[in-house]
Symmetry: C2
Subunit: 431 residues, 2 copies
């Protein structure tokens, strides 16, 4: 059944239940420990807990740490975990074995790759990104600009924006690196990775992709797109646990020349020789920094067991079915209340999340109270200032019925006006 | 009883058992889940597992992540954990509230503070460290030298060494920063923090202390010593778990001016405004980078509960009793087999670990096989190339009887020659 060709009024909750019954990924939902009475649409921010994770982490703590103690660095393979798990992330992003490694926080990993990329184009003094990028990416770029520039003369930054300038308008022979997020964290808009990379390469620059909102949400083909560097997050769609380690991908052709700035001993060619001078390891290993946070790594390991079973084509198909259903229902049932869809309707330009905005008689900032009222009813999305209600559709555990229930809940909240209760009013930070 | 004044031959296992019975810290040993039949003397590398940790981590996973989901960023205080746990580390290092925050890996945190320190002395082009520093510190310095220098002209590095040059010989008006490890990772030698800091300040430079082998091992008084910056590790004596997060300390007087290079969004003044430009937070917060690895943070949190009960004066007293006992027994029983103590005998110059070396008829590298033979007997220390057998004495769970048993085991191995068995011969890396 194609939703796009169905009349919206022909969709009811039974239609959604039928879609769930026919869903080839339905079996994954029971692999997650979702709380009763919750429709969880914030897996784009923090993924749900796989049922296998607590037992795995408990075993790592009791057996590997408690009993194995220091011996586990060898016996339990601790030292190699960042590379071993990197190899298990590789098929999710179209990367080859030996091209991916776990990092520290996403921000630190972005610092690693942007600095390394810019060093490969030393004569060029411009870095391009975009206004709507996740802020930490822009903050990290500011630091790279200063550190790689000369005193009083940082590298230049050019930011593209939806209202212009466009990428083509700012790309020229001075550009060293372009840093873009594949799926936008606010709107869910997705770039054509291959096409953007091609244009960047035509200008002689290198392409760094931030995959935080892509990995586990949409199929990614880094090598097919001829991209240069990428980083990503494992605690969103990959369900690695709160703050689980980032990953770093570097195209094989750059391995011999890339020079990351965080030159910790785990990136050394022979870390246990304890030499005085730094000598980078071959391959992706030189992007490692220090001792990995192994309890967090254990959380990620458990979730990657589950990802090994996922067919990414099925994942994308279901993701589009969910987001299309949501958009369709919002149009049909919420437009009259002043709710509009911000996310692109063209499926090729959409990740696995949809953003809504309050318009018309509503104030844009009313989205905050609307989201709080939704959360109070057990429908969990989030709000991003100044005006976006975000809903993430993690295909492994979100059902079509969840989508129905979320829209029905929002309709009821709008109809009743319950979101105007003082308890939902804005105060303080929203995380 | 003073061991120093006892005749070594008057010490027997019963003496050690009596010392254990009188030990005010003895009650802590049962708080750790040490495996049966193991004498664990490698807590200077990876601390033992507190019994309370598995339950705490399990609760964070099941309740905060599994049930709380995204709401736990506010409801469970996730966002503030790096500052809250930093404040709990503060009393262990003589720091004030608001001066300590958790970081990523130790290497990344050292990069943060050394860069920030050198930027406070922009006219000076020299960084001092020492040959015997933990290698990652030196590797990180190489990167800072390059990034803060001009193209083709990195900052200069001067390394002091036991055989010279001395600190006084290399300190002059060109020095921006001195980076030293308080307790040496190989030999256990400890610097006089206040005295070294005073000399560094006399030269107009700033002092960065690496506390990896100090925190939880010896009392540290950063503010009393007027130090400037420090970093440390929580997975050794603090028992936070394998790879648990590092911490960063910055003296309050530098908070307004320090500019760290990893400018992630968790260090921003208003992270949830999602502004395009970076504006550093006040205080120590600006040293935060990205999302903390919260399962690893949970491990640390459990161990800090335990540390809140520890009297650091008692800790130091027991630590010195253990290391003195070990040195005394090695002298009395192992010297004849060619084993010598490398660690300073003067207690004020010793941390909580002791290094031994094979000399005389033994080859220096024989320490490797000797350590493997010890480990096979359940006495776990480690070997650091080229020639050191390291033994760490974590005062919360190592007993005087452990010390006796370790020396007795090594004596038996030397006497029987069992360490010459091929299975103990060196191969591959030792972690």
């Amino acid at each position: 059944m194609s939703l796009a060709t169905s009349a919206p009024h022909s969709i009811d909750r039974a239609t959604c239940a039928a879609l769930d019954a026919a869903d080839p990924l339905a079996r994954f939902r029971e692999r997650f420990a979702l709380p009763e009475g919750v429709v969880y649409l914030d897996g784009n921010s923090l993924g749900a807990l796989p049922r296998a994770t607590p037992g795995h982490v408990e075993r790592v703590i009791a057996e590997e740490w408690g009993t194995g103690l220091i011996r586990s660095w060898n016996d339990a393979g601790w030292f190699d975990k960042p590379a071993v798990l990197g190899d298990r992330i590789a098929p999710l992003i179209g990367a080859a074995p030996g091209e991916v490694v776990l990092g520290d926080s996403t921000s630190a990993s972005l610092f690693q790759v942007v600095t390394a990329a810019a060093r490969i184009r030393p004569g060029r003094r411009v870095i391009i990104s975009e206004c709507g990028n996740f802020p930490t990416d822009l903050y990290v770029l500011e630091s790279v600009q200063e550190l790689l520039g000369e005193p009083g003369r940082p590298l230049e930054r050019r930011l593209i924006d939806d209202d212009g300038p466009t990428l083509d308008e700012v790309l020229d022979g001075d550009v060293a690196v372009v840093v873009l997020t594949h799926v936008n964290y606010r709107t869910g808009r997705m770039y054509d990775m291959a096409e953007v990379t091609r244009r960047v390469h035509e200008a002689g620059a290198l392409m760094v992709w931030d995959l935080c909102h892509s990995v586990g949400a949409v199929p990614v083909e880094l090598n097919a797109a001829r991209a240069d560097f990428a980083i990503g997050c494992t605690y969103k769609y990959l369900n690695g646990g709160p703050g689980s380690p980032s990953f770093i991908w570097v195209a094989g052709r750059h391995h011999g020349v890339a020079r990351p700035p965080l030159t910790g001993w785990h990136g050394h060619a022979r870390p246990f020789d304890f030499t005085v001078g730094y000598e980078p390891a071959d391959g992706i290993t030189r992007f490692r920094v220090g001792t990995p946070q192994l309890l967090a790594v254990a959380g990620l390991e458990a979730s990657l067991d589950l990802w090994a079973e996922v067919d990414l084509a099925e994942l994308r198909e279901k993701s589009l079915r969910l987001t299309e259903l949501f958009i369709c229902l919002v149009d049909a049932r919420l437009a009259e209340w002043g709710i509009e869809v911000v996310t692109p309707r063209q499926s090729a330009r959409r990740g696995s999340q949809v953003a809504l905005r309050a318009v018309g008689t509503l104030d844009a900032g009313d989205g905050y109270a609307l989201m709080q009222a939704l959360i109070a009813r057990g429908v969990i999305g989030d709000f991003r200032a100044p005006d976006l209600m975000r809903f993430g559709f993690a295909p492994l555990y979100v059902t079509h019925t969840d989508v129905w229930d979320a829209v029905a809940a929002l309709e009821e909240i709008l109809r009743s006006g319950s979101w105007r209760e003082p308890r939902f009013a804005r105060r303080g930070a929203v995380t």
